[in-house]
């Protein structure tokens, strides 16, 4: 049995699943770290996932092309980000309370919208989801080919976002300003930049990324919207953000690690064939999250101004 447990790692199927499970988390962690780098904790993430999943899917169902659905999801996320940003940045409300409020609101709005649109359906209506990639040369490679052949263009977007965000943060004037506003907003103010503008902008962009995480589930991983389908993925992203030390590269690593554990435990369940309760396996990725936090979070270098509201002229 040990042999078959190890054998899982050699299956292309396992690696393809790892990437598929990790993709929404990549979007989510990038979004969360962007908000937090600017100094705003966004616990609206779980609800924004739901709203992104629902609005992106609905847009496509109503006839928009798939990429149109992606844009609608991002726009929905940005709107909830604007709400969270206005409440927490210029008004300086508690970021915890506001974030949980946004999660409840976004989730309810999404479910309500779904119920209004489809009052009497037994099985969720389906759409034509993103097709698997059809790559000319890479697709023919041994081992790698089959893994890539199971991914979609949406996943490519997630990986591209990692690079783009890393580049923006490290190498552009905007990135400097974002990192500075999460460390010492006074430094930003004193250089003539707008703290409020930067923070709201970051929260909106971050929330748009979170919503893409949700949309991936309905537009690529599955082809329908279900109640409860987000199932805590947003909260996992909040933990992974700390694990990633607010760096996009490490965020990718953390999401993949979580994805691998989740894919692995699913396959482990079939091997043990019911000898061990499946709940034990389901628990594994979360146990990993907590263990990683215990190890990493104590030394974590939080953005210094995280969760500290800034009011102009007050020092």
């Amino acid at each position: 049995m040990l042999w078959s447990a190890l054998d899982i790692l050699t299956q292309a199927n396992f690696w393809a699943a790892t990437i598929r499970i990790a993709t929404p988390l990549i979007f989510g962690v990038l979004g969360a770290l962007l908000c937090e780098r600017a100094g705003v904790l966004n616990l609206g993430i779980e609800g924004i996932f739901v709203a992104g999943a629902m609005s992106g899917w609905l847009a496509v169902y109503l006839g928009l092309p798939l990429w149109g659905g992606v844009l609608v999801a991002a726009g929905t996320g940005a709107l909830f980000g604007l709400l969270h940003g206005i409440l927490t940045v210029p008004l300086g409300l508690s970021q915890h309370v506001t974030g949980i409020g946004v999660t409840l609101l976004a989730t309810s709005v999404a479910y309500f919208g779904y119920r209004v649109a489809f009052p009497n359906v037994a099985t969720p209506p389906r759409i034509e989801a993103f097709p698997p990639l059809d790559l000319p040369v890479l697709g023919d490679l041994p081992f790698i080919g089959p893994i890539l052949a199971q991914q979609t263009a949406f996943t490519v977007l997630a990986f591209a976002c990692v690079g783009i965000l890393a580049l923006i943060l490290a190498r552009t004037p905007l990135g400097l300003a974002l990192r500075a506003v999460g460390d010492n907003p006074e430094a930003v103010e004193a250089q003539g930049l707008s703290v409020v503008g930067l923070r709201i902008g970051a929260v909106m962009a971050g929330s748009a990324l979170m919503a893409l995480g949700g949309a991936f589930l309905t537009l690529s991983a599955f082809n329908a919207f279900y109640f409860g389908m987000i199932n805590g993925r947003g909260w996992v992203c909040i933990a992974l953000t700390v694990f990633a030390s607010w760096r996009p590269g490490k965020a990718l690593l953390g999401a993949l690690l979580f994805g691998a554990l989740d894919a692995y435990q699913l396959r482990l369940q079939t091997i043990t064939g019911g000898a061990v309760p499946s709940q034990i396996f389901l628990m594994l990725p979360y146990v990993f999250s907590i263990a990683a936090l215990v190890l990493v979070a104590r030394r974590a270098d939080y953005p210094r101004a995280l969760m500290k509201p800034y009011f102009k002229g007050q020092r």
């Binding site: 552009t172 004037p173 905007l174 500075a180 460390d183 430094a187 004193a190 003539g192 930049l193 020092r315």
Partner: protein, 515 residues
């Protein structure tokens, strides 16, 4: 008198700012010329900060206008309430608390906001070249490529000044720039300021260290109660005359009768506190403080005085060595035991460690002795007794507050410190730990704290005074020891000790080479 030939760069006229019933700035006029170094003096609450905040766009003035010279020398009105406009007009400010993002490098902090946020890459080449030139001109050499968090306070200040120069400022405001520097660093800063002024930069120098003002500035403007009370050349002014202008009444000269030391109250032998790789730690410290003397500890903050204070206050235990504190062998952390043994603690941060803002003056007054029988009976607090004694302390210590039931949070820093002093000194402690007892206080409150510490000494208390302010240490201490990187020097008699020597030792030179 000849009119000054140098062109005006800044002209404030009739600046008035009110906060409710309080007039923080009352029709203030101020002219500054190119190349001039002007001192702005005033007690806390005199209106300096408000005036500079208006200049820098943090506040909008209720009345009055600010005129600033453009690159062509033509004066034009500065729109209020915009830091961006102030920056663009050539006003730069170095705050007492630095406005630096510590996760960025010095270079990144300097270019922050100087390039459009929507450009794709950071243009480093031109920025580098300009900075190199500025550094050569001003002598502000510092490492620009490590995160600011890893720089010393003096280096961070250099980054702050470079940040302003990089923006081609014509007026540079320095808010209490030497408060955090060693004397040598302060000398370096003064030289830099002179160099910059010689090149035509107008400098407004805010300080309460009068000897620095007299040495560096050519003109001094004094604010009191929101109004300008003096605008005169520094030539002919003296420390006493300036202090009197600031406070509005003559300041009695400080008197310190010779000490009459008795038996040791605090004895440290080879004491280490904190892990060796910790920044604020103590390693193998020897120290003796006797009854009836004040021993000062000089050093740049974070070099081990925090660990020493924690040890004495019972918040930390020694890792090695032997500590005898008020007759007790201090082997473990035991703050309550220290208080019972007669140790009075004036903590460094009165907001965080000295008082509880939400509690009343009376409750704060008995905070450390709440278990004593005079404060409680059968587990219930004796409110009336406490309130009566607090009212007496308020009168004795001249605490300006509505009464014993006022929340401490609403008190000014000086009055808060008076509550702490009353709490500590009314117990007639055997050992007083005074950690930065006058930080942030104005001359009036500072004088009061100094007088009471000397009185406590003369009553027979041993006083351990930890301060970054060398003037204060020399004024109060009978002996001074210097702490640097965890090592505590031997205590030296203040009489005959040179302030420069102490400054060099604070920077890490050994006593022999410093002397």
């Amino acid at each position: 008198m000849h009119p000054d030939p140098r062109p005006l760069v800044l002209s404030l006229s009739g600046i008035t700012k009110r906060f409710g019933p309080l007039t923080a700035n009352d029709h203030i006029d101020l002219d500054v010329r190119a190349g001039e170094i002007v001192a702005l003096l005033g007690e806390n609450g005199a209106g300096k900060t408000t005036l500079m905040s208006i200049l820098f766009g943090h506040y909008v003035a209720d009345e009055g206008v600010v005129h600033i010279a453009g690159p062509d020398g033509q004066l034009s009105a500065l729109p209020g309430g915009s830091a961006e406009a102030a920056l663009a007009a050539g006003i730069g400010m170095v705050h007492q608390h630095f406005a630096l993002a510590e996760n960025l490098t010095g270079f990144e902090n300097i270019v922050l906001g100087t390039q459009s946020l929507w450009t794709l890459g950071l243009r480093r080449g031109a920025a580098r070249a300009k900075l190199e030139r500025l550094i050569t001109e001003s002598g502000l050499a510092t490492d620009l490529d490590v995160p600011v968090a890893r720089l010393s306070v003096g280096e961070q200040q250099r980054i702050e000044i470079l940040k302003a120069l990089y923006r081609d400022v014509r007026v540079l405001i320095l808010d209490e720039p030497t408060a955090v520097l060693t004397p040598q660093e302060a000398d370096g800063l003064a030289a830099t300021v002179r160099t910059l002024a010689a090149k035509g930069l107008a400098v407004i120098f805010i300080s309460h260290k009068l000897h620095e003002v007299l040495a560096l500035c050519e003109r001094v403007v004094v604010l009191r109660g929101g109004a300008k009370v003096a605008d005169q050349p520094t030539l002919g002014a003296s420390r006493a005359s300036l202090a009197e202008l600031m406070v509005g009444r003559p300041i009695p000269a400080r008197e310190r009768p010779p000490a009459n030391p008795g038996a040791p109250v605090l004895v440290l032998r080879g004491v280490s506190v904190g892990a060796p790789d910790q920044r604020d730690r103590l390693q193998g410290a020897d120290l003796e403080v006797r009854a009836g003397e004040i021993v000062g500890i000089a050093g740049v903050s974070g070099n081990g005085q925090g660990a020493l204070a924690q040890l004495v206050a019972g918040l930390a235990s020694p890792r090695a060595g032997e500590a005898l504190i008020a007759g007790l062998r201090a082997s473990r952390a035991d703050p309550a035991g220290r208080i019972a043994a007669g140790i009075g603690r004036i903590p460094e941060d009165r907001h965080r460690d000295g008082t509880i803002g939400a509690l009343t003056v009376a409750e704060n007054y008995v905070l450390e002795t709440i278990a004593a029988p005079e404060n409680q009976r059968a587990g219930l607090i004796r409110r009336d007794d406490i309130r009566r004694r607090a009212a007496r302390a308020i009168a004795d210590y001249d605490v300006r507050c509505p009464g014993p039931d006022a929340a401490v949070r609403a008190l000014s820093g000086g009055n808060m410190q008076k509550v702490v002093l009353a709490r500590v000194l009314e117990r007639a402690p055997r050992l007083v730990l005074a950690h930065q007892p006058t930080r942030g206080l104005d001359i009036g409150a500072t004088t009061d704290v100094h007088r009471r510490l000397i009185a406590a000494r003369d009553r027979g208390a041993a006083v351990l005074l930890i301060s970054e302010d060398l003037d204060e240490l020399f004024a109060l201490s009978d002996r001074i020891a210097v702490v640097h990187a965890g090592h505590l020097s031997a205590a030296m008699d203040t009489a005959g000790l040179d302030i420069r020597t102490v400054g060099l030792m604070m920077a890490g030179h050994a006593a022999e080479e410093a002397a």
